[in-house]
Amino acid sequence: MNLTYSEEQKMLKESVERFIADAYVGRDGAPAFDAAMWKQFADLGWLSLLAPEGAGGLGAGAVESGIVMEAFGRGLVGEPFMTSVVLCGDLIASLGTPAQQEHLLGKLGAGELKFGFAHEESRRFAPLPVACKATRAGAGWRLDGAKPFALDAAEADVILVVARLAGDAASRQGLGVFLVPRDARGLKVETFPRLGGGSGARLKLEGVELGADARLGDDAADALDRAEDKATAALCCEALGVMQAVLEKTVEYAKTRVQFERPLAANQVVRHRLADMAIACEEARSLSLRACLLADADAPARMRAVSGAKTKIARHARFVAEQAVQLHGGMGVTEELDIGRYLKRIVAFEALFGDSGFHLARRAAAETLVA
């Protein structure tokens, strides 16, 4: 039992933090995709960090992806590391054939292939229902349906689309994951900037024809759960980075901003608020770490850790980000400071892969399984 970072983890942490501090922190404007940055991520090895060693990757795990994501949160990175590398990378690694893995993860690692992701079909995140249909078309496949909220599809070369091979819309069985090229015939992509950074898209699939090798593995529900749990754990780490950044900025502001001839921090109420924000950050650190440490565990333990982290960090992060805005006063509610951009990132964090209520219910259900 040892929850301190290994030497390798410390080195990764230092190098990512240094890069982000130089290249990202203090940038203006909404976080969006930058191709040159993505190339640098590839050169730094971050895009192959998580891929199995057999597929040319470094075989690192959720703790390492958490280290990267925490720094990315601090830097408000707009590039789709979570979608492409953490989420889609994991699906490819767990569902793909060795050949698919080598090809797709190799290209991903080299920065030559970016993935978008399209799963849920409800307004509020839920893994089911999935009505989007996959039917046999010759040797290949044909996809029909709609995905109202595809992640980072705008910049993707290939979108991983969850579609139904069998069963009714509410069934966990019969789900497949398909590789859909961004420019496939019959695929309509309406993109939008996503609050807090990255992009989203509404997909319409009307008779999208795919080759026989477009399908990743077999029954995908468990793999999707696992991959989405890993993505959620990674997002928790990103949220931690955001929280820590706005806490530091707000502490600094409270020390220097003078009102009524004394710094804001002279107000006990402000100091206690900041103390509560610091406590929220510490708890987010423990819970996100726990989620990463159990991200590869089996269902009930993994669900408990990940859903526990998500539900609580969502609330903690909102508290920290909203109070950071509050304590910055007028400037906090403008686009002049990055405080607002951090808040938007947190609003997005809350909604992605299930909000606080969704995960509390999931955690409570996972609890009952064990009792």
Binding site: R123, F192, L195, Q259, F260, V269, E336, V347, A351
Partner: protein
């Protein structure tokens, strides 16, 4: 004690409803509902103000002698409630609720005769020059200076958070006319023509992406001394009077109720109305019940000639929190679609289809802009200081 309206109150209610049915055009209602910022644009409020002015209903809180409505407290409550329920645009308060009352109380006969009718008609559009970059909650530390030169002040400095400075032709401002004595004593209350040479305006985008506030710069701006209200150095008193008036802030529960119902409607339509969200909606709705009852208690006390006590800070504080809770319900009712960003403005002028429906468009910007509610007009922290002092003697 009676929780029913009297016959004459019901008759008045019907008169207001009939008027709104007949005069509140759908495009005005639409423009209001598609505005996620705190204030409606002049493009929305100007035509509405003309209609109201024709009826004599622009200024419910003003005394009749200045063109106000002469409503009883109960009528004012009914009036504001029906307007909010109907989704009517909110007239800009800067003239009607802020500088108007100050001019009424402290202005010269000439100032009253000139400005008050122009406020009622909307011929003047006002903005407020109070806050400065260095002085937020600590307003008295303001530094924008008005140096006397003959019968003019020469103004230099900068004001910030100036709502609709880019629309206004007039500003009322607190300016430093002296450094002697207490810092409050060197402040004067001055009216400034926004077309004066030396004024420049820098837009500040809100967190929700709206252009509503500005920074205003003064570079040797000449303002006639006759534009001062009251005595030189007494501006702090007049300014405080205005802030109290602002905090008293009328009736807000009906507007909150209408917004909450819109959020519930979205949740119902989009399938996000889980039991959990339904309970949160009920929870906020109870807070609105509570505030509505408090408003009615205040109204009843005023009707009976009693002093309602130090509740205005309480109402400001809780209403801002309720507003934030309502807008947050909206975000959760949208689910993932809360993350769909539509950067174009104003929404009511968009004539192409958007990814979100019209009622959905405003939700996230309203939540984001709503973070300002616990900041402007006295932060929640300042309100709690006031409540501890005024209600508890601490």
């Amino acid at each position: 004690m009676d929780f029913q309206f009297t016959e004459s109150e019901r008759a008045f209610q019907k008169e207001v409803r009939d008027f709104l049915d007949a005069n509140l055009k759908p495009e005005l209602r639409r423009a209001h509902s598609l505005t996620p910022s705190v204030f409606d644009d002049p493009a929305t409020t100007r035509p509405w103000q003309k209609i109201l002015n024709a009826k004599g209903w622009v200024a419910p809180a003003w005394p009749s002698e200045y063109g106000g409505c002469g409503f009883s407290p109960a009528e004012r409550w009914i009036f504001a409630t029906e307007f909010a329920r109907a989704g009517a645009p909110n007239l800009s308060p800067m003239g009607l609720q802020m500088v108007g009352p100050v001019i009424m109380k402290f202005g010269t006969p000439e100032q009253k005769a000139y400005y008050l009718p122009r406020i009622l008609s909307g011929d003047d559009y006002w903005c407020q020059g109070y806050s400065e970059p260095g002085s937020g909650s600590d307003l008295a530390s303001l530094k924008t200076r008005a140096r006397r030169e003959g019968d003019h002040y020469i103004v230099n400095g900068s004001k910030i958070w100036t709502t609709h400075a880019h629309h206004a032709n007039m500003m009322f401002a607190l300016l430093r006319t002296s450094d002697e004595g207490r810092k409050q004593d060197g402040i004067s209350f001055v009216l400034i023509d926004m077309k004066s040479p030396g004024i420049s305006i820098r837009p500040i985008l809100t967190i929700g992406g709206d252009h509503e506030v500005n920074q205003v710069f003064f570079d040797d701006v000449r303002v006639p001394v006759s534009n001062r209200i009251g005595e030189e150095g007494k501006g702090w008193t007049y300014g405080k009077y205005l802030l109290e008036f602002e905090r008293g802030g009328g009736v807000a529960s009906a507007r909150m109720r209408a917004m909450l119902r819109e959020c519930e409607e979205i949740a119902r339509r989009t399938g996000t109305l889980t039991e959990d969200l339904a309970r949160r909606i009920a929870d906020v709705d109870i807070d609105i019940d509570s505030m509505e009852t408090t408003e009615l208690r205040v109204m009843s006390a005023l009707s009976s000639g009693q002093n309602p006590g130090a509740v205005s800070s309480l109402i400001k504080l809780r209403m801002s929190e309720i507003h934030q809770a309502v807008t947050r319900v909206g975000v959760d009712a949208l689910g993932l679609d809360a993350l769909v960003v539509e950067p174009r403005r104003p929404f009511y002028a968009l004539n192409e289809p958007t990814l979100l429906t019209e009622d959905e468009l405003v939700v996230t910007p309203e939540y984001l802009n709503g973070r300002a509610f616990t900041i402007f007009g006295g932060t929640s922290e300042v309100q709690r200081d006031i409540i501890a002092k005024a209600m508890l003697g601490l």
